[in-house]
């Protein structure tokens, strides 16, 4: 059985966790710590020495997502174990504290096929799955490296992951080839991260008749635009939208006699994002340029961190509640367009940006995109996932954008070079000058 510790006060963990972990391991279970509440930071060196020893013991037994860095004080990062000033009660000093133990849903080890998985969501999800003891095979054409080391991943961790994860080479658009490659392969679960059209599902289902679960990465883009928001999973889809292929895939899965689950993210962000969401803002902030925002800037949208999304994908695995269900997965709060610009500035330590509002109808930008997000309100309720999957986003918006900045753009890496053509058209029309650092 795999035992996971959830959301506990790290200060308590230093007293309680080490003997617990030991007990659990003695009973033959694997243990891992999946999430830790962020809280105020205390320098490790200021911890009482018995806590330092306990913390070291936790680190030794720690086998989870988040790292414990004992020597980096007072930083806002979810990948650090934060330490709350310890308020040790008499009971704790006497060792009289008792804890009940949380045992996560025991999911036995699965043989998992992931369609895609080398670029963004899959990068984090594959790690969660291998750490949880599953066997993961990525199905890709092999054009991109199967694995890449994360910015905050040690060489040892990366080595462990890259040697655990398997690769099956092929082109999923070659339906016959796909079917023959998968026949008899014995995969228990499929994570379809890069599927676009309903027809793509058939060869996989035909090749894997005993499939336990088909988990599909859909999109909130399937929702029909509405004056009443947020979108709930029961809202109407738009059969004419750009994402109708995703909607088709969901219907296709529902028609087949397969245990399926569909996840609908909104805008995903985080380190390694290949869609220029936060990157678009960071480029302009770094260049000291004003940020053009269409309309009033009051349009409300929703960003969700890729790591929170990966955890949601993990939570539906082997979960009876998730059978034939759709879940919106994104951030806890929504945000205005103006608000995203300000949040990105905070995340990257930039000064408050100048926002320039423009009327998109007055321009013909050609192929250049003037703004990375759809010009409308676009947000969903995540209450179904929170209620049924016992999942909730760990990252607030500024925290999450900071994570993305620190581990990606802030290190000088990005996917798309900046294109300020549309920006310059707007600024010229509005008679604004740009003083840009060379």
């Amino acid at each position: 059985m795999s035992v996971r510790f959830w959301k506990f006060d790290p200060a308590i963990s230093y007293h309680i966790l080490p003997p617990f972990v030991a007990d659990i391991q003695k009973l033959g279970h694997r243990s891992s710590v999946l999430s830790i509440s962020p809280c105020r930071c205390l320098c490790f060196s200021r911890l009482p020495s018995h806590c330092q020893r306990a913390a070291a013991a936790v680190q030794a037994s720690y086998n989870g997502l988040h790292k414990i860095d004992m020597h980096r004080p007072c930083e806002q990062s979810s990948s650090l174990l934060w330490v709350q000033p310890i308020n040790v009660t008499r009971a704790q000093k006497r060792g009289g504290v008792q804890c009940a133990l949380a045992a996560a849903t025991a999911v036995e080890s699965k043989k998992i096929l992931m369609m895609g998985g080398t670029r963004f969501i899959g990068v984090y999800l594959a790690r969660l799955l291998t750490e949880a003891g599953h066997e993961v095979t990525l199905f890709t054409r092999g054009k991109a490296p199967i694995t890449t080391q994360l910015a905050d991943e040690s060489d040892d961790e990366y080595k462990k992951f890259s040697s655990a994860v398997k690769h099956l080479q092929g082109d999923r658009q070659d339906f016959d080839g796909l079917k023959s490659k998968l026949s008899g392969s014995g995969f228990d679960v499929v994570y379809d991260i890069n599927g676009r059209e309903g027809a793509e599902v058939e060869p996989i289902l035909e090749a894997l008749p005993n499939l336990q679960q088909y988990i599909f990465c859909s999109s909130a883009g399937v929702y029909l635009k509405s004056d009443l928001l947020p979108h709930f999973e029961t809202d109407a889809g738009d059969p004419k939208s750009r994402h109708k292929g995703k909607l088709d895939t969901e219907s296709m899965l529902d028609k087949k006699d397969v245990n399926w689950t569909s996840i609908r993210p909104v805008y995903i962000y985080g380190p390694l994002n290949y869609n220029p969401v936060e990157e678009w803002f960071f480029h302009r902030l770094k260049a000291g340029r004003p940020i053009p925002v269409p309309g009033s800037g009051l349009q409300i949208t929703q960003l969700g961190h890729v790591k929170d999304l990966a955890v949601a994908f993990l939570k539906v695995l082997g979960n009876e509640k998730a059978s034939k269900q759709v879940y919106n997965i994104s951030g806890e709060k929504y945000v205005t367009f103006d608000g995203i610009a300000r949040a990105c500035a905070k995340a990257g330590g930039f000064p408050e940006p100048e926002l320039v509002h423009f009327n998109a109808k007055e321009y013909d930008f050609g192929k250049s995109k003037a703004f990375p997000l759809r010009d409308q309100h676009f947000f969903t309720s995540i209450e179904k996932a929170k209620k049924e999957l016992d999942w909730e986003p760990k990252f607030g918006l500024v925290d999450g954008l900071t994570d993305s900045y620190k581990l990606d753009f802030g290190r000088g890496t990005f996917r798309k070079k900046p294109d300020f053509t549309a920006d310059d058209m707007i600024l010229e029309k509005l008679g604004k000058k740009v003083t840009v650092a060379a």
């Binding site: 959830w6 506990f8 308020n87 009971a91 804890c99 309309g295 409300i300 709060k333 929504y334 929170k386």
Partner: protein, 421 residues
């Protein structure tokens, strides 16, 4: 900072008290207040592995409560959590309660009392509604007060009086629940709170306002978000919390539609649409607000009254679960009236009008979500704005308001400013 822990539910077959519990009873972790180490709500770890009722569950989850040092909640007195802090709200009326509502004599909140009395009476509770002021006052000629005979027909008592002297109005009567749906600051509500405490009321409820939330780049307003420091309602909430009623809760409403409303809401739009006038909307019209049918508030407060343990210590956003844009609201009102909407956008400053007088809603995103009620009470919203507005329009015409002679001075000023612009 409040402690956080996840709480999974034990196999409810083993504990009949909690029959009917579902995953909807999981409170959000941040709502839990953890007890101190000495509380009885901690189970030993070994018992979990012995197949204890605590351990097994249909979902394989088990109970975790981590003890920790006491924390003062933001609102004052610390309360140890119950073992299963989130009790599923039952849908049928529990023990009948004696409820006293102190009701405002004007404004948007007046209609809440009107609907709540009816709902509570229909569910077997005994309600007295104390309206502030005199029964003979001119204010009583407007709805809902002009329809208070309906409340008496439903079995409720209607009295009038002064909140600073509740005893004079209700005599020696005692109540299980007191709801103040009148005051906006401690000066107005303290006498009611103190009287309720002295009177032995177990539960105190307060109709606050979602208007006290600080504006933010990140909608919606969620329970727990920062509130304006100078808001009078905050002081009231803190005072109630400090007095250790068995149960207390605060409700933060926004705008409401519903029969018997004292303050115009949808009527403002119907007035213009039915007379084929353009509807002036402050630019850009995408501002999101929350328009609830008042029955949502009535059902939420009723659930809190019938499930005091689940509601205790909570502020609830008393709103529907959908936001609507100004543009969308005009569209729905026009559809209800069977007309095509005509919108003109304006900037209140440029038009030289006071935005508060020119338009019935705040000129900004003002959008709260009822997350606490859903999580803690299993409450569901019944507002369906497009349908509700149809019913509202029927009443609008039935009372002849569509024929009424109305002056549109501010509208005309706005339209004139747009022509000369």
């Amino acid at each position: 900072m409040a402690m956080q822990a996840t709480v999974a539910i034990a196999d409810h077959h083993a504990s009949p008290t909690y029959a009917g519990l579902s995953s909807s009873s999981f409170g959000s972790a941040s709502q839990l207040r953890l007890s101190s180490a000495s509380s009885s709500c901690i189970a030993s770890s070994s018992s979990l592995f012995q197949g204890d009722a605590l351990y097994s569950s249909s979902r394989g989850g088990a109970l975790l409560l981590i003890s920790g040092s006491k924390r003062r909640t933001q609102l004052g007195a610390y309360r140890p959590a119950a073992f299963f802090p989130s009790v599923r709200a039952s849908s049928s009326a529990s023990t009948p309660k004696k409820v006293l509502i102190i009701n405002t004599n004007s404004g948007g909140h007046a209609v809440i009392g009107f609907w709540l009395v009816k709902e509570l009476q229909s569910r077997g509770h005994e309600v007295t509604i104390l309206t502030v002021g005199d029964e003979s006052s001119d204010k009583m000629k407007k709805t809902p007060f002009s329809r208070f005979s309906e409340l008496r027909e439903a079995g409720a008592k209607t009295v009038w009086g002064d909140p600073s002297n509740v005893g004079a109005a209700v005599g020696s009567a005692s109540f299980d629940v007191v709801l103040d749906n009148n005051g906006k600051d401690l000066d107005a509500v303290k006498p009611v709170i103190d009287w309720a405490k002295g009177n032995g009321a177990q539960q105190f409820l307060f109709a606050s306002s979602a208007g006290i939330y600080k504006t933010s780049d990140e909608p919606p307003h969620v329970e727990g978000d920062a509130v304006k420091a100078d808001a009078g309602h905050v002081g009231v909430e803190q005072y109630i919390a400090s007095l250790s009623f068995s149960s207390w809760a605060s409700f933060r409403p926004q705008y409401m539609v519903g029969s018997g409303n004292n303050k115009d809401c949808e009527e403002w739009f119907f007035d213009r649409i039915v007379r084929d006038r353009p509807v002036p909307i402050p630019y850009p019209g995408v501002q999101v607000t929350n328009i609830s049918h008042v029955k949502d508030l009535s059902s939420m407060i009723t659930l809190a009254i019938e499930n005091p343990a689940a509601a205790n210590g909570t502020t609830f956003n008393a709103v529907s679960d959908r936001g609507v844009t100004f543009n969308g609201l005009v569209k729905f009102c026009a559809a209800a009236a069977g007309k095509e909407p005509k919108i003109v956008y304006y900037d209140p400053k440029a038009a030289g009008v006071d935005a508060k007088k020119a338009f019935p809603f705040r000129n900004m995103h003002f959008y709260a979500e009822p997350r606490a009620a859903k999580e803690k009470l299993g409450w569901k919203s019944c507002t369906n704005l497009p349908e509700d507005l149809k019913e509202r329009f029927e009443e609008y015409t039935a009372i002849g308001r569509d024929k009424k002679d109305i002056k549109f001075e501010l509208d005309d000023k706005i339209l004139a400013s747009l022509e000369t612009a």
